[in-house]
């Protein structure tokens, strides 16, 4: 049987949607096993400021879980802002203890604001045994305007200071020579 080009186009359109649907249902089916919650929804910070928040990982399934790894993700919604998560938090991965059914563990995260812009933070927990990932709700972090040094009037300072010391040195040496 010969398949028409229109039918091929229809299959090409539907197949990815089916795959997406499969992935989505996988995520929703696994979301009931582990719940990741964060104690903040949004906060503002100034550049250089350090903030902390806590996430709680709860085993909502019926089996014990082991080998869970929590990871803090930091990204920006502004394409013009560069974010290197390494700069923002030195400790972004934490290994959880074994969690029995119904148990939970609290994890504290510290982030230092580096550049200004809109940031999104979330904690993802990987269940390596079942090859699944669970994520918390996002935290919206807004880092205020970055204040950089105003370069106006720098030349008089950087020239006059050494010049003043040089003048003092010259006067001292001259005085010394006269005394000798």
């Amino acid at each position: 049987m010969r398949i028409s080009s229109r039918a091929l186009a229809a299959i090409a359109l539907v197949l990815p949607l089916l795959l997406v649907g499969t992935t989505g249902s996988h995520a929703s089916s696994t979301s009931s096993l582990i719940m990741v919650e964060v104690d903040e929804t949004a906060f503002d910070a100034g550049p250089g400021e350090k903030i902390s928040f806590t996430s709680t990982v709860t085993n909502t399934g019926e089996e014990s879980l082991s080998g869970l790894i929590a990871h803090l993700n930091i990204l920006t919604s502004d394409p013009g802002v560069y974010v290197d998560p390494e700069d923002w938090s030195a400790k972004r991965t934490q290994y959880l203890d074994d969690l029995s059914s119904g148990d939970s563990q609290r994890l504290t995260w510290t982030v230092q604001a580096v550049t200004s812009g809109p940031l999104i933070l979330y904690v993802a927990v990987s269940d390596t045994g079942k090859n699944r990932v669970y994520a918390s709700e996002p935290i919206e972090m807004t880092v205020g305007g970055q204040r950089v040094v105003n370069s106006g009037g720098v030349l008089p300072l950087v020239l006059w200071m050494p010049a003043g010391v040089l003048g003092l040195l010259g006067a001292t040496l001259l005085r010394r020579r006269r005394h000798q």
Partner: protein
């Protein structure tokens, strides 16, 4: 020290004046009126000027947030000020020994401990001058964010503690060094070794060993205190625990140097 300066020690001191004050006065005159101290200050201000100019105009460095820029300049001022102190202290005895003036100095009525105190004060004066010269730069960089008062007070406290510690280190090294080159290079190496942990990436200071190193090294602890004071806008007393090691080092090393003053000889370890 010059022969003329040594002869100054022979003059009988007034009854109320301790020997160390006479020595300190002579050493200060020798350091500042000879032009040596001012030459060091010239190098210091040139370095600060270059750093400040780059921070203000260079696009890469001006990306720094203003508080980070203040912290950077303050760290440069503290570390370079301490470098000047350690060089002067390391030169104080071995320099005399190498120039052949130590014998005359030891023959003066001034006790050896007074000689060390006087030389230590002269070395320490370099820090105070270097810090005073760095204040206009700190004020200019931080003039919009209001961090100048805390940066200047914190920088003065931390820098003075570290300078006292290095005076002790320099005096101990110079007392037992036969050559000036050995004394200065050893003191310089010690300073580098003490500053190096503060430059380690954050990840390297994690864990008990990293925490211990951070608190046990006076330089790392002092610079971390300044960083929290300026960048994180902490109060002067919030991280005062970090100053425990610098305080202990600032008391212990000069005291140890004074304790060892009795062992100051013309040619140590030479056996001759």
């Amino acid at each position: 020290m010059t022969d003329q300066a040594i002869s100054g020690y022979d003059a009988p001191a007034p009854a109320a004046t301790s020997a160390w004050i006479v020595v300190a006065g002579q050493e200060l005159r020798d350091l500042w009126l000879s032009g040596r101290g001012l030459t060091m200050m010239l190098a210091h201000t040139v370095l600060l000027s270059v750093s400040t100019y780059l921070i203000a105009t260079n696009q890469e460095l001006n990306f720094l947030e203003q508080r980070e820029a203040i912290n950077l300049v303050l760290k440069v001022a503290v570390v370079v000020g301490c470098l000047l102190v350690v060089i002067a202290a390391a030169d104080s005895i071995s320099g005399e020994r190498e120039r052949g003036t130590l014998e005359s100095l030891l023959l003066t009525p001034a006790p050896r401990r007074a000689l060390l105190v006087g030389k230590g004060i002269a070395a320490l004066s370099l820090w105070f001058a270097a810090f005073a010269l760095s204040l206009p730069y700190l004020w200019w960089i931080g003039r919009d964010v209001g961090t100048f008062p805390s940066a200047s007070v914190g920088g003065f406290v931390v820098g003075t503690l570290l300078a006292l510690f290095l005076v002790g280190v320099g005096l101990i090294v110079t007392m037992f060094s036969q050559s000036n080159r050995l004394s200065i290079s050893l003191s310089f190496f010690l300073l580098l070794a003490l500053v190096a942990p503060s430059q380690l990436p954050t990840g390297a200071t994690r864990g008990w060993a990293g925490e211990l190193l951070m608190r046990a090294d006076p330089f790392t602890a002092g610079l971390l205190y300044l960083e929290r004071l300026i960048i994180n806008a902490h109060t002067l007393t919030q991280d005062v625990g970090l100053l425990a090691t610098p305080v202990v080092a600032a008391v212990l090393l000069p005291a140890l140097a004074l304790g060892l003053a009795g062992r100051l000889t013309l040619l140590p370890r030479s056996g001759s």
